[in-house]
C-alpha cells in the first residue's frame, strides 16, 4: 500500500505542476504519511502538516509531544518539530517556511489544502512566503484519495467485513425474552469490534444501539452520543445497530436493523423499502454514471413507491482515510464513478411510527459495475433475534 500511495503522490505533484505541497488537514496528513493518530483533529489549537517537495522526501512538521508517535507509525521518516506559541500558528509557519525556502526555488508553486488550512495559518504563510505562489491543492488530494489503490481496497474490505461481523456478532446475543438495554447492547457491539481487532479509540469510533421509540432521532440522548438509554427492545420492535470503526486509520461505517423476533408484516414492508432503495442504487452504481444520477434514481424510486426517504442528507459517501469523503451520493456531486471508488450507500427512511430505519452497505466500483463487500449475512432480510426462554 505504501509504495502505491507514494508513487501516486509523487506523480500527482509533478503532473499538477506543484514544486511542493503543504498539507494541514488531519485526514490529508494521514493519507500522505500512513500514520493514524486518532487525536490531532481534537486539538484545534495544535497544528501538524506534511511538506512534500516534488521528487523528494516528505517532512512532517509536528509538535514535540507527538513526534515519536508519528515516526513509529509513518512511512515518512523526516520530521521537524516546532515551539508552540499560545494562540498563534507562528511556530508551525516558521518551520514550514524554513522547509519551503530550503527546498523550493524562489517563485516556486506550493500547493496548500485550503479546505483544511485555518485562515490564520494561511494568512501567515502567505505573508512569509510572498516570493512563492501558493495555490490550492485540494483537487489533487481529492483525486488521489477518491480512487483507492489495490492495497487500500484490500484493507477497506477487511475493515468493512469485520465491522459487519461485529454488529452481527453481538446481534447473536440479543434474545427477545432476556434482552438487555440499549447501553449494554451498544457496549456489546464495541466489544465485538475489539475482539475482531478493530480499533475503537478515537472520539467518533463509536457504536450505537437504538430501540423504539428513541429511533425517531439520529442521535438520541444528546450529548451522550453512542452511549444509549436503558430502554430494552421488546418483541415486535426494531433495534438499530450502528458501528464506526477503523484499522490503521481506514474506516468503515455500518448500520443494520434487527427485528425482535419474527418481523410483523408492517416491519417486513418497511425493511423491504430499504432493500428496494439498495437495489435501485445497485442498478446505478457503475463506471460512467454520475454520483448525482445515483441519488436521483434512488429518490425517484422513493417518490414513486411512497417511501419516506430523508432527502436533506446525502444518500451515501466514500470511505478511506476518513469515514465521510467523496464521492457523495448527492444531487450536488457530479463526480463520474470510476473503478476503485468505494461508497457506503446509507439511505435513511421513516416508518409509520416515525422511526428512522437505516442500512449501510459498501460497494466498490469495478470495471464491470460494482462489488458489494462485507456482508456477514444476506441482508435482504433484517437480523431476527430469537425468542428463547
Amino acid at each position: 500500500m505504501k509504495e502505491e500511495i507514494i508513487e501516486r503522490i509523487n506523480a500527482g505533484i509533478t503532473e499538477a505542476g506543484y514544486d511542493a505541497i503543504l498539507v494541514f488537514g488531519y485526514d490529508n496528513v494521514q493519507y500522505l504519511s500512513g500514520a493514524y493518530l486518532h487525536f490531532p483533529q481534537s486539538f484545534p489549537d495544535r497544528y501538524m502538516a506534511v511538506f512534500w517537495p516534488k521528487e523528494e522526501m516528505a517532512t512532517c512538521v509536528i509538535p514535540h509531544e507527538w513526534e515519536s508517535s508519528f515516526l513509529n507509525l509513518s512511512w515518512i521518516n523526516k520530521t521537524r518539530t516546532y515551539n508552540e506559541k499560545p494562540g498563534s500558528p507562528s511556530g508551525i509557519v516558521e518551520a514550514a517556511v524554513y522547509l519551503a525556502k530550503n527546498t523550493v526555488r524562489k517563485t516556486g508553486r506550493i500547493g496548500i489544502d485550503v479546505n483544511r488550512t485555518p485562515l490564520n495559518v494561511y494568512n501567515r504563510l502567505k505573508g512569509a512566503l510572498e516570493d512563492f505562489e501558493l495555490a490550492p491543492c485540494d483537487d489533487l488530494l481529492r483525486e488521489l484519495r477518491l480512487k483507492k489503490t489495490q492495497g487500500e481496497l484490500e484493507l477497506l474490505e477487511k475493515v468493512v467485513s469485520k465491522n459487519d461481523q461485529a454488529i452481527a456478532g453481538h446481534a447473536h446475543h440479543i434474545l427477545v425474552q432476556q434482552a438487555n438495554g440499549e447501553m449494554n447492547i451498544t457496549e456489546g457491539i464495541r466489544t465485538h469490534a475489539i475482539e475482531r481487532e478493530l480499533d475503537e479509540v478515537g472520539h467518533h469510533a463509536i457504536a450505537q444501539a437504538v430501540g423504539e421509540t428513541n429511533m425517531k432521532s439520529w442521535w438520541p440522548r444528546a450529548p451522550m452520543f453512542g452511549i444509549g438509554f436503558d430502554k430494552k427492545p421488546l418483541r415486535g420492535e426494531w433495534l438499530r445497530m450502528e458501528l464506526v470503526s477503523t484499522v490503521n486509520g481506514y474506516w468503515s461505517n455500518g448500520a443494520r436493523m434487527l427485528s425482535m423476533d419474527e418481523p410483523t408484516d408492517e416491519m417486513k414492508a418497511d425493511y423491504q423499502n430499504l432493500v428496494t432503495l439498495r437495489e435501485t442504487a445497485r442498478d446505478a452504481l457503475k463506471p460512467g454514471v454520475k454520483a448525482s444520477d445515483v441519488y436521483k434514481a434512488v429518490k425517484a424510486t422513493a417518490d414513486e413507491k411512497g417511501i419516506a426517504l430523508q432527502i436533506k442528507v446525502t444518500l451515501g459517501t466514500g470511505i478511506g482515510a476518513s469515514n465521510y469523503e467523496p464521492p457523495y451520493i448527492s444531487e450536488a456531486d457530479e463526480t463520474v464513478l470510476e473503478p476503485g471508488m468505494i461508497i457506503v450507500f446509507s439511505p435513511v427512511i421513516k416508518d409509520s411510527n416515525d422511526n428512522l430505519l437505516m442500512a449501510k452497505d459498501t460497494f466498490v466500483i469495478t470495471e464491470e459495475g460494482h462489488k458489494l463487500i462485507g456482508w456477514w449475512k444476506d441482508w435482504r432480510e433484517p437480523f431476527i433475534a430469537n425468542y428463547t426462554f
Binding site: 493518530l37 486518532h38 487525536f39 483533529q41 481534537s42 486539538f43 484545534p44 514535540h64 507527538w66 515519536s68 513509529n72 518539530t81 515551539n83 506559541k85 499560545p86 494562540g87 500558528p89 496548500i112 485550503v114 479546505n115 483544511r116 488550512t117 485555518p118 485562515l119 490564520n120 494568512n123 464495541r190 466489544t191 475489539i194 481487532e197 480499533d199 475503537e200 479509540v201 478515537g202 472520539h203 467518533h204 463509536i206 432521532s217 439520529w218 442521535w219 438520541p220 440522548r221 444528546a222 450529548p223 451522550m224 452520543f225 453512542g226 452511549i227 432527502i311 436533506k312 442528507v313 446525502t314 476518513s322 469515514n323 465521510y324 457523495y328 448527492s330 444531487e331 450536488a332 456531486d333
Partner: protein, 385 residues
C-alpha cells in the same frame, strides 16, 4: 450555566461586531452550549452558530445533527441546510448567505473565528457576501473561554471524577487477571472508556494506554497483552456536557521495583514544585521555568519541550499554556491541566496529570477523586465472587 449565557451575550453586545459567527467545533460548543456528534471528524460538513447583537441566535447544521441540538435545550433558531444543494461546504455557504441576507447583516461587520475557519470556506463566504466585513473574533472568544464561570468549573470537576472513576474501575477489572485470565491492552483501554461513561461522562476522546516500552512515547496503537512487571500510563480525555478533562495516571503490574517507585516520586516532586507557583499573578512561563530549574537542580530527567500543561474547558487542550512561550498571567477562574513528563527506569514517560482551578488564594484540585500519590499496583489472585 445561565451565568455563562449572560456572559457571552454581554460580550457580543459590547463587541465591535454586529454579529459573531463561530465555526470551530470547540467555539460552537462553547457559544451555543450544545455538543455536536463528533463534528471535528467531519471536516467537509459544517455547523455554525451565529450570534447577532440584535435578533435571534441561529445554529446552522446538517439535518442529522439538528435534533441533538434541540434536545440539549437550544432556545434559538435552528437552520437545517440541505446537503444536496451544494458540493461539500457549498450547501452550508448557500444557507449562510440566505440567512445573513435575511437578517440584514450583509453590509455589516461579522466577527469570525479565523483560527478555525478554513481559507477555502472563508473565500466562499466572502465571495457570496462581498459587502460583509469579516473580522477575526479569536481574541474575544479566547478571553471569554479562558476564565471559567462557576458552572463551567463544576462541569469540569464532574468530568474529572468521571474520568478518574473510569480509570480506577478499569484497573479493578484488571486486578487478579494479569497472570491468569489476561487482558488485551485494547480491552483494558475500552474498559476505561466505558466506565467513564457509566459514571455519567458524556463522551471520551483521547484514549491511550502505554504499557512497558510502548510507554516510552506519547501514543501507540492499543495492541498486545497486559503482562507482569510493566509500568504503564493511562491517558484519557472525557467530557461532561461539553466540558472536558484530560487526565493521565500511572500504574504498575505486579510489585513495583524501587526504581519504578523512585521515578514516580520524582515526578510528584516536580508537580509539587509547580503547585507552589500555580496561583494568580504568576505568568504561565514562570511556572514552567520554576519547574525546569527545579528539575535541573535535583537532576530529574524532564521532557521539557511539550511544556507542563494547558487549559481545559470546551476542549481538552486550550489556552493558557504552561510552556516557555506563554506569558499569560494566571488568574482566578482559569482551569489548568498540570502535566509534567519525567522518565521511568527504562525511559518510559511518566506523568500524573491533574486538573486545577485557579482561585483567589491559589489553586483548587478538581481531579481529587484519588490522590494518586503512589503508583497504582495491579496485583492479586483471580477468584470468583
Amino acid at each position: 450555566m445561565d451565568q455563562l449565557k449572560q456572559k457571552i451575550e454581554t460580550a457580543v453586545s459590547e463587541s465591535q461586531y454586529d454579529a459573531v459567527l463561530a465555526l470551530g467545533v470547540d467555539n460552537y460548543n462553547y457559544l451555543s452550549g450544545t455538543v455536536l456528534p463528533f463534528a471535528e471528524h467531519y471536516p467537509s460538513r459544517k455547523a455554525a452558530v451565529l450570534m447577532p447583537k440584535e435578533g435571534s441566535q441561529v445554529v446552522i447544521v446538517p439535518q442529522d445533527w439538528s435534533q441533538a441540538v434541540i434536545d440539549q435545550g437550544w432556545t434559538g433558531e435552528v437552520l437545517i441546510y440541505d446537503e444536496n444543494q451544494g458540493y461539500e461546504t457549498g450547501a452550508f455557504v448557500k444557507a449562510m448567505e440566505e440567512l445573513i441576507v435575511s437578517m440584514g447583516l450583509n453590509k455589516n461587520t461579522i466577527g469570525i473565528d479565523a483560527a478555525r475557519v478554513t481559507k477555502g470556506l472563508m473565500d466562499s463566504l466572502s465571495g457570496k457576501l462581498p459587502r460583509v466585513l469579516w473580522e477575526p473574533a479569536d481574541p474575544m472568544i479566547r478571553d471569554l473561554r479562558i476564565i471559567k464561570t462557576e458552572g463551567e468549573i463544576e462541569f469540569i470537576e464532574r468530568a474529572c471524577k468521571q474520568s478518574d472513576r473510569g480509570i480506577v474501575y478499569a484497573l479493578m477489572h484488571l486486578e487478579g487477571t494479569v497472570d491468569h485470565q489476561r487482558y488485551t491492552i485494547a480491552e483494558f483501554t475500552e474498559r476505561m472508556r466505558v466506565h467513564a461513561n457509566e459514571n455519567g461522562g458524556s463522551g471520551v476522546s483521547l484514549l491511550n494506554c502505554g504499557f512497558g516500552s510502548d510507554g516510552q512515547i506519547y501514543y501507540t496503537p492499543q495492541r498486545g497483552w497486559v503482562k507482569n512487571g510493566d509500568i504503564f500510563r493511562m491517558d484519557m480525555s472525557s467530557h461532561y456536557m461539553g466540558y472536558w478533562t484530560n487526565v493521565g495516571r500511572m500504574g504498575v503490574t505486579g510489585s513495583p521495583s524501587p526504581e519504578q517507585e523512585n521515578a514516580y516520586k520524582e515526578n510528584l516532586q516536580l508537580r509539587d514544585t509547580a503547585l507552589e507557583m500555580l496561583k494568580p499573578g504568576v505568568a504561565c512561563n514562570e511556572v514552567y521555568a520554576h519547574v525546569a530549574r527545579a528539575a535541573e537542580r535535583q537532576a530529574i530527567g524532564f521532557w521539557k519541550e511539550p511544556g507542563i500543561g494547558h487549559g481545559v474547558g470546551a476542549s481538552h487542550h486550550e489556552a493558557p499554556y504552561l510552556n516557555l512561550n506563554c506569558s499569560t498571567e494566571i488568574k482566578p477562574g482559569m482551569v489548568l491541566a498540570l502535566d509534567i513528563y519525567t522518565y521511568g527506569p527504562r525511559q518510559e514517560l511518566i506523568h500524573n496529570k491533574d486538573i486545577y482551578a485557579i482561585t483567589e488564594e491559589g489553586n483548587r484540585k478538581l481531579s481529587w477523586y484519588m490522590a494518586w500519590d503512589k503508583l497504582y499496583h495491579v496485583y492479586g489472585m483471580r477468584t470468583t465472587h
